[in-house]
Amino acid sequence: MRRKPLAVLIGFALLGQVARAELFDSKLEPFLDALDDMQTRYVDETKVTTPKLTENAMKGIVDALDSESLLLGKGQVLGPAGPGISIAVIEGAVYVYDVAEGSAAESAGLEVGNRILRIDGKGASGKKRLEVEGMLRGAPGTRAMLLWADSRANYREVAFTRSVQAKPAWRNVRMDSVEVVQVFRLDPGSAREISAWLAKLDPAAVSGAVLDLRFCHLGDPDAGIQLADSCLGEKVLIAEGKGINPKYSRRYAAGKKGDQVRIPLVAVVGKWTAGPAEILAAALQANHRSVLVGEKTFGFAARQQDFPLADGRTLRITVERFSTPLSASITGRGLEPDLPVAMPVPGKSAMYMEDHHVAERFVERVLKEPPAEYDAEALKLGEMKLTAAELKDRSVAEKRSEFETTFQITMEAMLRDQGLDFDREDLEENRGALISRVRVLLARRLMKPADALLASLQEDPAIKMAADSIGALERLSGREKPQ
């Protein structure tokens, strides 16, 4: 009975002699003693074989590291298709931060902020981000079962057919004199494209660009550094790296080719903004190249390195953590916005309206029987505005309040007809959000995708504030608004 554990000890002793003096550190003694004890006394010997103990010890160490540090199997690759959600891991909990338009996930009602609990009956919590990705992804046409909880802790389980999502890494929309650049993935390729595209913009033709980084999560930190480089002057500090290994403790400064982007920039950030997007946002903010609009960011910007193991697997661990040019750690803290725009937290009445699909019903209703006050031609094109006659001889503020009053009357009439029980106060409280929602729904139904996207961005409070701040910048600097 004593042979097995002693073999472990011998293993240790041999290793020590032939390989590593530091293994004799007394700190490791408890570990080896414990293994010895387990192999002697544990009730089921099949569970304490040396290979099993080895595997579980490795797993234990990796589990104690951050969510981006993990063991990768030999030749492990992610499947090309998925249900159409992007995920982020916060303290072991898996959240949806983006839902692909037109995906199976969208039609099943998955929303940003929902928490994924199980995939094909297996728990997702406590797993590393890439492990969860591995469970989500697979071959196109295969099916996966997802159990999730929404913000109200309602649970739902739906089977999805995996499909390949052709979501671009970034896209741009012109909004009046401002370019809105939505970035979804920052990798060296997309960073190169975006910086080249931004560099081509002529300050005489464009007021500035809004960089929407709210749905840009993790990725290659070099991509963030590269994009920041093209927006900042030579030798300007972009970020600081910090690591245990001295080669990762270093400073990143803009190169000679820097400063190619000449137009004003405003970045929009949110709670999912992480990794290269955070490095970029921090560099722009610290160097006064941009203000940050939106919400506090996610707080994880780090580089991983792959270390091949003797058994053919790969140990991927975080080797470098990034700080802002002002030496504030990004990881664990996030970046505070200069202009906070909180995402609205829906109240009880708003939830009730959402549950009863009030906005959707309203759209159906006005399209079926357009009320006389609304411009019928505009409505057919997906835009909701009052007729010219209604608005004649009114100031801008009056026009707005006239629209709101009309909306309220139409809405109340519809709710009454459909037997839905609402207080006028509830309706007034949620009117702004309802109008936005109705506008976005109408646009999606009737406009071309590009126009619908523009319409939805125009209803987005953070984008509006970012565009407004570019306008303010323009007025402050006395520049002419480009036509």
């Binding site: 570990f31 009730v43 003797a310």
Partner: protein, 486 residues
């Protein structure tokens, strides 16, 4: 490390030619050391990942691959565990938990500083040494309150009907009471064991002596929700009830040193009372040894619910020289005298008593602090319809020659529902109908607690307990029909 070398050399001497096989063993541990090396030299965490962290993490991983009862205990966990099994620690003598969202006293332990100072179940603890308990985790609060005997801790207590008050308590050695006993109004001895720690059997023996003196007709041993504890104590408890030379439990481990058979000691006078053992689905481990042995020897009727089904023995082995960390390891399974498998099966009750259903009302008023608050309001609002003499004894009764008991209860019920509405917890008729009896019992217990303290309240709660009532009835029935209980 020298010891390890010596061990290794010894094996060399005995087993010289076995080299190649051991070489492969050596290489199979190498990946762990490789990972440790890479992580130590490269991992950029929020703080340095030390070798100590590494060992903790590796052992957590290793124990995670075993069974749910085997685990690695870091410094704090090991310290807590030692206190738990030793059955004593430095503290003030309260159990704490959350009532609503507030940290509260669940119950003080008799004779401790907290009990002497007059703390009651349901008191909210607003601050510990001036630190607000808002958002504090239980485990943090426990560690703040516990400490070296002789030192002091200040608890700021909020109690319904009183202004906030600071209680300065001197910590003492607290021995949680694991055995409580009393003679019920029906003349049956009732003893409950909360968990099996050192001295549990000794304390139960005291209870049995007391029962003998008082001449009880039968005994109820309550093991409901008893999670287990020390194997040796379970054996000693069984030993109190059966004659010598009988097998109590056998353990079987892979390591022959862990296989053992435990027998009862020869003795003059084992307790011969007719015995009912109460169990439920949370009675585990040591509780199952006791109920299993008493059942196999036909010494007791098991009443209640089938037990949990945890039939494994763990040993706790310190793994550092300073005894600061340990490994809890499953080293054996155990079997009842009839060699019945308990693991994941449990001990079947001879007499099934369903668990009481908690009415919706009792979920709404889930903790005693609310009933305490109502009791406080009863005292504050004038008590002319209550018998003042009874009230002094902590009982609620109509004034002599006043209302009937039913009328009195209806009045009490009206008061309670009025009060509930006043604090924003209106009770629907349907819920009230279902939960009325239990709610009025809780009111009575709260009044008793306020007047006579925790111990009296506890006794009252036992008298009200429907499962204890059923067990008593069973015992009485058996006595009446002279059924063979031994």
């Amino acid at each position: 490390m020298r010891r390890l070398f010596a061990a290794a050399l010894a094996l060399f001497l005995l087993d010289g030619p076995a080299w190649p096989a051991q070489m492969s063993q050596a290489s199979s541990l190498k990946p762990v050391f490789d990972v440790m090396d890479i992580v130590e030299g490269n991992y950029a965490g929020d703080k340095k990942f030390t070798q100590d962290d590494m060992v903790n993490a590796a052992l957590t991983g290793v124990s995670g691959g075993l069974d749910r009862y085997s685990e690695f205990l870091d410094q704090q966990a090991f310290k807590d565990m030692k206190e738990e099994t030793k059955g004593q620690f430095g503290g003030v003598g309260i159990e704490i938990g959350f009532m609503g969202a507030k940290l509260s006293v669940i119950a003080p332990i008799e004779g401790t500083p907290a009990d002497k100072a007059g703390l009651l179940g349901g008191d909210h603890i607003a601050r510990i040494d001036g630190v607000s308990t808002d958002g504090m985790k239980i485990i943090d609060a426990v560690h703040r309150i516990k400490g070296t005997p002789g030192t002091k801790v200040v608890l700021t207590i909020l109690r319904e009907g009183y202004s906030p008050r600071d209680y300065t308590l001197q910590r003492a050695i607290i021995t949680p009471i694991n055995v409580r006993y009393r003679v019920l109004d029906n003349g049956i001895g009732y003893a409950t064991i909360r968990s099996f720690s050192e001295k549990t059997a000794e304390n139960l023996a005291v209870a049995l002596d007391e029962f003998r003196k008082k001449g009880v007709t039968g005994v109820i041993l309550d093991l409901r929700s008893n999670p287990g504890g020390l194997l040796a104590e379970a054996v000693r408890v069984v030993d109190l009830f059966i004659p010598g030379g009988k097998l109590i439990v056998s353990t079987e481990g892979r390591d022959p040193r862990q296989s053992a058979r435990y027998y009862s000691n020869p003795k003059l006078n084992p307790a011969t009372f007719p015995l009912v053992v109460m169990t439920n689905d949370h009675s585990a481990s040591a509780s199952e040894i006791v109920s299993g042995a008493l059942k196999d020897w036909g010494r007791a009727v098991i009443a209640g619910r089938r037990t949990f089904g945890k039939a494994s023995v763990q040993s706790i082995q310190p793994i550092t020289r300073d005894d600061s960390k340990a490994m809890r390891l499953t080293i054996a399974h155990y079997y009842t005298p009839k060699h019945k498998e308990i693991h994941e099966v449990g001990i079947e009750a001879d007499f099934n008593i369903p668990s009481p259903r908690y009415p919706a009302l009792m979920r709404k008023f889930a903790d005693v602090s609310q009933f305490n608050a109502f009791a406080a309001s009863l005292f504050a609002s004038g008590t002319q319809w209550m018998d003042p003499v009874a009230l002094k004894e902590g009982r609620l009764a109509p004034v002599p020659k006043g209302e009937s008991a039913e009328e009195f209860d209806r009045r009490l019920e009206t008061e309670f529902r009025k009060w509930a509405t006043g604090v924003g917890s209106t009770i629907e008729d349907e819920d009230w109908f279902e939960g009325r009896e239990m709610a009025l019992q809780q009111v009575r217990i709260a009044v008793m607690r306020r007047v006579k303290g925790e111990e009296a309240a506890r006794k009252m709660a036992v008298e009200f307990d429907p499962q204890v009532k059923t067990a008593s009835a069973l015992l009485k029935l058996a006595l009446a029909s002279k059924a063979e209980f031994r």
